[in-house]
Symmetry: C2
Subunit: 315 residues, 2 copies
């Protein structure tokens, strides 16, 4: 007889990951590009198919999705980068895969993953910040997941670090996401080289003269090779991320910060810069004894956390 | 037989308040100016005397103090505006008044007061921000007080709203406290009129030509009368406070925000400006259903909360 299993789903702006998870270990994993142009129907179709591919037993399903979620209704609320209307994703998916479904923000699920099976095992006070296509967060407070009144607690990506900063997709100015997310740095670099083709000959070459084709990975690669524009973007990311993480520390006084996300680790020295910048800014008693750790589960933190929550709830 | 009572102490930078509290009600209250020049010894002496004045029964004592506190040790850590060394205030006071003492930050205690006996009765998710000599905070998460790993959670005054902002006493740049605390606005206005005596003839008159004598109350009074410099200060306070409160909402998704502090309510329209500015900036699902309330206990929130915590712990 096999161990009790559950299914974790991580719906990011760029990729969807689905895994069958047993004892906190992803034993079967599927990865696909998100069918973003298909809208919520397309993504729902895609997720249902992927879930059925890894599991035929109607195991409970946990879904982390890049957006704000209403935990009572199981609704995705204005995922800021998807621009969906309010979608009752939990009920729709449940009816398609004929299994119970629990829905939360993607980085909240990644936080659960790191807390239960990753860098934060046994930790009672913890905050996570993940830098990918967007910037997301999650926290454990007093040994319990921070959910907030409606289930949209932990949106550290929408801490503003400059009241006069660039406009974020959420509407306010200077969110750390507007400085540091993969999506925003691509936009920033595209604008810079569209306005001035000489701003970065290296990036122009990497994108074969097509600014629209620029990816955050290219910017990171150019930074690695010393490209001035890309290094300036990296420095801005470090400044914004350090400020936001220090504010989270001053607000929550966690014993551990977990940093993750492919975009964070793509840039040379960025992780170290964020650690140093953060420690230089937070209150001394909050900094003492604080551990800053790298995500242990990497891009599978979300599916592990989502599956863990599904099992705890419906297992 | 009288109801079980406990003693609440609120040690601010400017005032000390001590009260005997019964059933959440302060039945006897003492207020004095803080003997700040006397250092930690002077303040300890003053607090001990005041406690013994309101109570001869060795009732449990709760102390809220403007500074960062280590809850395990009962130590006041580098209260940023007092500049004390680490002081084991809890043990020292306990030995003087011969009663058990519990120690926390002053606004954390005010948060307990508002939560148990004030604006937030019955609320499970709540955040407080108080604007006085400093800017402090506190929160209730999942029906429990946010304490953090070492007891210094809730320092929302040290959320930075501008990475390039003025230097705060804590060392970092652009903390909301550096823009909006009574202490900082006095400093700012003093500098402005020392550099240019014509910057505010009204303030020069109010302080009788002595910039050193300027208080935040004078700045508020001048703003009320239309003084340009004072209104500019008020607008900066509104911008910084709105940004910090919106970030707290995005991070914690509380069902209630409680705003308090004499400095906040002294300025014309400031409270309304902060509410509007906050609601215009926070994530929509976090804003829906959110209540923003004025502190119900005013300047006694701290003593009520401190006495409540003392009774819960030692009653």
């Amino acid at each position: 007889m096999r161990e009790r299993c559950s299914i974790g789903v991580d719906v990011g702006h760029t990729n969807i990951r689905v895994a069958r998870v047993e004892g906190g270990v992803p034993v079967e994993v599927r990865r696909e590009r998100t069918d973003a142009p298909g809208g919520s129907d397309g993504v729902l179709e895609q997720v249902s198919r992927m879930v059925l591919e890894v599991d035929g037993d109607r195991s409970p399903v946990g879904v982390g999705i890049a957006g704000q979620c209403d935990k009572a209704q199981g609704v995705v609320r204005c995922g800021p980068n998807f621009f969906w209307p309010d979608v009752p994703f939990q009920a729709l998916l449940s009816s398609r895969v004929q299994a119970p479904v629990v829905l939360r923000n993607d980085v909240v699920m990644a936080t659960v993953g790191e807390w239960k099976h990753g860098a934060g095992k046994g930790v009672e006070e913890m905050a996570c910040l993940f830098v990918g296509t967007g910037v997301g967060g999650g926290a454990v407070v007093g040994g319990r997941l921070l959910e907030g009144a409606t289930g949209c607690g932990g949106h550290f990506g929408h801490i503003s670090v400059r009241t006069d900063g660039p406009k974020c997709t959420c509407g306010r100015r200077g969110c750390v996401e507007a400085f540091a997310s993969g999506c925003n740095i691509e936009e920033q670099v595209r604008r810079a080289i569209t306005e001035d083709a000489d701003a970065s000959p290296m990036l122009m070459e990497l994108c074969h003269g097509e600014p629209k084709a620029i990816s955050s990975r290219m910017v990171a690669e150019a930074a690695e090779k010393g490209d001035t524009l890309s290094l300036r973007v990296r420095d801005q990311m470090a400044e914004a991320l350090s400020s936001a993480v220090a504010s989270v520390i001053n607000a929550l006084n966690p014993e551990m910060i977990v940093l993750g996300g492919t975009v964070l680790f793509g840039f040379p020295d960025l992780y170290e810069m964020v650690i140093q910048g953060t420690l230089g800014q937070c209150l001394r008693p909050a900094a003492e004894g604080l551990r800053i750790e790298r995500s242990a589960l990497g891009d599978l933190a979300g599916v592990v956390g989502a599956a863990t929550m599904a099992l705890e709830r419906y297992g």
